[in-house]
């Protein structure tokens, strides 16, 4: 029998990628430094060269991303630019990210490490010009509409890097409404899943892959054009990387790319130590899923469920940051379970906005962070994840990491960096299924979702309408373009004063999206993202500031639309007084206090995504009246809010055409409010006794009891702390 010779690997020095990965991780464990780089010097030896090197790479990624935008036909790409590119080491470790949606800093690379772990090098083959595609959150990702196009970069006969593009797709075959179906329960309902599949060779997409897409998707042309735009962008970056290698030398490239990760790791620790305070930080996210009234394909999914997701962040003296979600309730048959890897996506997108925002963010930004593996069978780590739909982990993740931003903001505040404080919330939107205005059956979702106000900072009011945590660049693009893709008319975008999180500094103001279905023959709709049905406000006010108002999803149906047009009656275009919005004279307002799963919608219906804003900061009655006057003059607030919340008396001066503050009356209102607080408030011990009785007697909504039971079932620590806080007997159970 002939002796088998060991196959030469495609990695550095003839090693296989698997060997490289194992060596890399071993060195990290042994030294605490990325790739064992204990004494980085390549970049430091010639800082100017290093700077040019880094920015050449970054420029290539940014221009590659722009290339994709020019080729794609999808408004998600062209208008909203929901895409990103990253450069990775052979082991799948992120070196640099382009501008764009940086959720995927680590996740894109996790697909590569998965391929390496599954021996793609021998079993599938990794060659110059190969095109891989992935979108399965069970491997690594957020949800299946985020599609990764993965391309190896070879130099001579060795693999030196990977370039990866992620694009949010309008359709990947999920059971609509929309491209991110809320009611999906089982894996198949998510649509097509690509498990790091080789979709092409020699820089060309295989015809059999194209045929599969053409047969499977309603929006096949958009999907395939996105692949082509990603492949073109990847080729562009690959060739520029080769130019850079020619210029700098392959040895410098290999060492410098790794040092970029190690230097960022060190910088991140330095930032944590410079800007925060070590200690324990806590908060909680309630996840609300009201599916009992929603049509679903799987009976166990047809129920209302609340789940707690407690969050603890420990900032350790060594400058590490540890996230622990102990106490998270159980997983369920719904689309909002999160994978442990998916949590990294939430952390990635926040960390590049809160700490690593100098364009150098990469895997090193995340190396000082740890996410403790959530308890098995919690909502953050379902053991049956392969059977589950995974299209909506955004709902809990946005709330978790929006709160996390605020928690980190607390640390910044205590250290004196008040200008860095901010937080976010999740938002709502509408998705549709049916025939568009051109008669084509397809899922539909427009991009105007992230239109709520960001949290207050420690030095000023929050950003109005521009706080979409999922991408640092909130820009939905031209709305007229979305009207071409979805049979709806843009009715209005009016700032909604009651959406605000009040405080000494207020949050930004949200704009409800109001769109009228137009030339929409038949179909159904559902909510999107956070789904806008919360009965519990997110705990997002800071230091006396309030959380923004409740997020809502409405469907408005006119009694007789044609008659209204004939009589020139005004169409609905703003929320107005929130006490009266539900009582429209010429229309029925369907107000959902449950998850909007799949409801019948009709032509001329008005879909309303009424987002609440993030949190205010500080005591509202300490708000500078000058700030409030400016808000009154620009219509961002009104006299009622001024008086009731801020205790500022103001009147409109018709002659001067501006608001005037009555300082005397304001002073009296504020003094009265302080007296009221002292008379209404009770010592916490008194309140605690009453509330404890309520807990002891289990005098709570059954959904809440089940929610606590679920967390207690999975966590002894949560159970003990719950009992300790309420001083409950050891045998107490919910």
């Amino acid at each position: 029998m002939a002796k088998r010779t060991k196959r030469k690997g495609i990695g550095d020095g003839g090693r296989t990628l698997k060997q490289m990965l194992e060596d890399n991780r071993r060195l990290l464990r042994e030294t605490g430094c990325y790739a064992g780089i204990t004494e980085p010097h390549v970049l430091r030896d010639d800082p100017v060269k290093a700077e040019l090197f880094q920015w050449r790479l970054l420029s290539s990624l940014i221009s590659g991303r722009q290339t994709a935008r020019m080729i794609s036909g999808s408004p998600y790409v062209r208008e909203m630019a929901e895409l990103c590119m990253g450069l990775y080491t052979p082991e799948g470790d992120n070196v640099l990210q382009s501008t764009g949606i940086q959720v995927h800093v680590r996740l894109m690379g996790d697909n590569v490490t998965w391929m390496i772990g599954n021996n793609y090098e021998e079993d599938v083959g990794i060659n110059e010009g190969d095109l891989f595609v992935a979108n399965d959150p069970v491997i690594a990702g957020v949800h299946s509409v985020d599609v990764y196009d993965i391309m190896p970069i070879f130099w001579e006969d060795g693999l030196v890097a990977w370039v990866i593009t992620v694009i949010h797709e309008m359709d990947c075959g999920g059971v609509s409404p929309g491209c991110m179906p809320v009611t999906a329960v089982e894996r198949g309902a998510d649509g097509l899943k690509f498990c790091c599949e080789k979709m092409g060779t020699d820089d060309k997409i295989r015809r059999d892959f194209e045929i599969k897409i053409e047969i499977s998707l309603d929006l096949a042309a958009h999907f395939l054009l996105d692949r082509k735009s990603a492949v073109a962008s990847n080729i562009r970056v690959r060739e520029e990387v080769k130019n850079i290698i020619r210029e700098y030398g392959v040895d410098y490239f290999k060492k410098a790319t790794r040092e970029l990760i190690e230097e960022e790791r060190r910088n991140q620790i330095a930032r944590i130590k410079q800007r925060t305070v070590p200690g324990r930080y806590r908060d909680v996210v309630p996840l609300e899923l009201y599916m009992a009234r929603v049509p679903v394909s799987w009976l166990p999914a047809k129920k209302d469920v609340l789940r707690l997701i407690p969050m603890q962040m420990d900032i350790l003296p060594e400058g590490r940051l540890v996230l622990d979600f102990d106490g998270a309730g159980e997983w369920g048959w719904h689309s909002m379970n999160v994978t442990p890897k998916g949590l990294w996506g939430g952390l990635s997108i926040c960390i590049v906005q809160a700490l690593s925002y100098d364009g150098r963010g990469n895997l090193g930004s995340l190396l000082p962070c740890e996410i403790k593996t959530p308890t098995v069978d919690s909502i953050l780590n379902p053991s049956q994840i392969k059977k589950l739909a995974t299209n909506y982990p955004w709902a809990p993740k946005l709330d978790i990491f929006s709160l996390w931003c605020g928690t980190l903001g607390t640390a910044f505040y205590m250290r004196g960096f008040r200008e860095e404080v901010f937080n976010c919330v999740s938002s709502s939107g509408w998705q549709l299924a049916g025939y568009d205005q051109f008669g084509n059956k397809r899922p539909m979702q427009a991009g105007g979702i992230g239109n709520f106000g960001g949290g207050a900072t420690g030095v000023g009011d929050g950003v109005d309408t521009g706080a979409w945590m999922a991408t640092p660049e909130t820009d939905l693009g031209n709305w007229e373009v979305w009207e071409l893709f979805v049979p709806q008319l843009f009715m209005s975008r009016i700032l909604e004063p009651y959406s605000v999180g009040y405080g000494r500094y207020r949050s930004g103001v949200a704009i409800p999206s109001m769109d009228m279905l137009h030339r929409f023959s038949e179909g159904i709709g559902s909510a999107a993202i956070g789904c806008g049905h919360d009965r519990i406000l997110p705990n997002i006010g800071l230091f006396g500031g309030y959380p923004g108002g409740k997020r809502n999803t409405f469907l408005v149906r006119y009694h007789n639309f044609e008659d209204m047009i004939a009589k020139r009656l005004p169409l609905i275009h703003e929320i107005g007084n929130p006490r009266e919005f539900k009582n429209q004279k010429y229309a029925d307002v369907i107000y959902f206090d449950y998850t909007v799963g799949a409801v019948e919608v009709r032509d001329k219906d008005l879909t309303v995504a009424d987002n609440g804003s993030a949190g205010g900061l500080g005591d509202p009655i300490e708000r500078d009246p000058a700030l409030q006057k400016a808000d009154l003059d620009t219509g961002l607030t009104n006299a009622e809010i001024s008086r009731n919340v801020y205790c500022i008396e103001a009147r409109y001066d018709e002659k001067a055409k501006e608001w005037k503050i009555d300082e005397g009356a304001t002073k009296k209102l504020r003094e009265a409010k302080r007296k009221e607080r002292l008379s209404r408030g009770v010592p916490v011990e008194v309140w605690w006794q009453t509330s404890r009785q309520r807990v002891l007697k289990k005098n709570m909504d059954p959904l809440l009891i089940e929610m606590y039971h679920s967390s207690m079932k999975l966590s002894q620590k949560f159970t003990q702390e719950f009992k300790d806080f309420w001083s409950l007997p050891d045998d107490f159970a919910l």
């Binding site: 324990r280 909680v284 205590m414 409740k550 001083s727």
Partner: protein
């Protein structure tokens, strides 16, 4: 990188023009920020105790008689910093639709069957110190327990005297409340 105390005072008071604030946000951070911050705050309070760490708009962890306590700028003291200061505050729980609608009218109002918005005030000056929105029955959140000795020792390089164990002692309070309450009710 450093800024004058006056610039920082103006920053904190919201008096800096946005262009300057943006510049401060975009530039590398100033290493002496914490010391200047504490100096500014110390000058603004009327009491003599040394501020160790500001923990909110009005609250500070201060050094007093060898102990570390939470103190409001009005002078009201909340006790050991390792015990959740909220336990010593006044609370107003918005747990009915009527109370919630004072802040969140109409469709902005959460459901009081599920949500409780708790307002914690200083018993001394009635400042609103924290608004907490949680599911009904959820324990009061201890938002932040600093590892203050590690902070001064390892990060600032000037250890504090009288090191304290880094430990949450809040549950001792609530367990004691329970014992007292059960005795009274018996």
């Amino acid at each position: 990188m450093e800024y004058s105390k006056q610039d920082l005072k103006d920053l904190y008071d919201g008096k800096l023009p946005w262009e300057k604030v943006k510049e401060i946000m975009s530039r590398p951070k100033d290493d002496d920020r914490f010391d200047k911050y504490v100096e500014i705050l110390q000058e603004r309070v009327k009491w003599p105790e040394r501020i160790l760490l500001p923990i909110g708009e009005h609250l500070y962890i201060v050094e007093k008689g060898g102990e570390r306590i939470v103190k409001c700028d009005c002078g009201h003291e909340f006790g050991d910093y390792r015990r959740n200061w909220k336990l010593s505050a006044l609370i107003f729980a918005r747990d009915t639709r009527e109370k919630l609608e004072e802040i969140y009218p109409g469709v902005r109002c959460p459901d009081p069957n599920f949500c409780e918005v708790r307002e914690y005030c200083c018993p001394g000056c009635a400042s609103l110190l924290k608004v907490e929105s949680v599911p009904v029955g959820y324990p009061i959140i201890f938002d932040f327990l600093p590892d203050i000795d590690a902070f001064y020792r390892d990060w600032l390089g000037r250890p504090l005297s009288n090191e304290k164990e880094f430990k949450d002692v809040s549950y001792g309070v609530t367990r004691e409340w329970g014992r007292q309450h059960d005795r009274t009710c018996r």
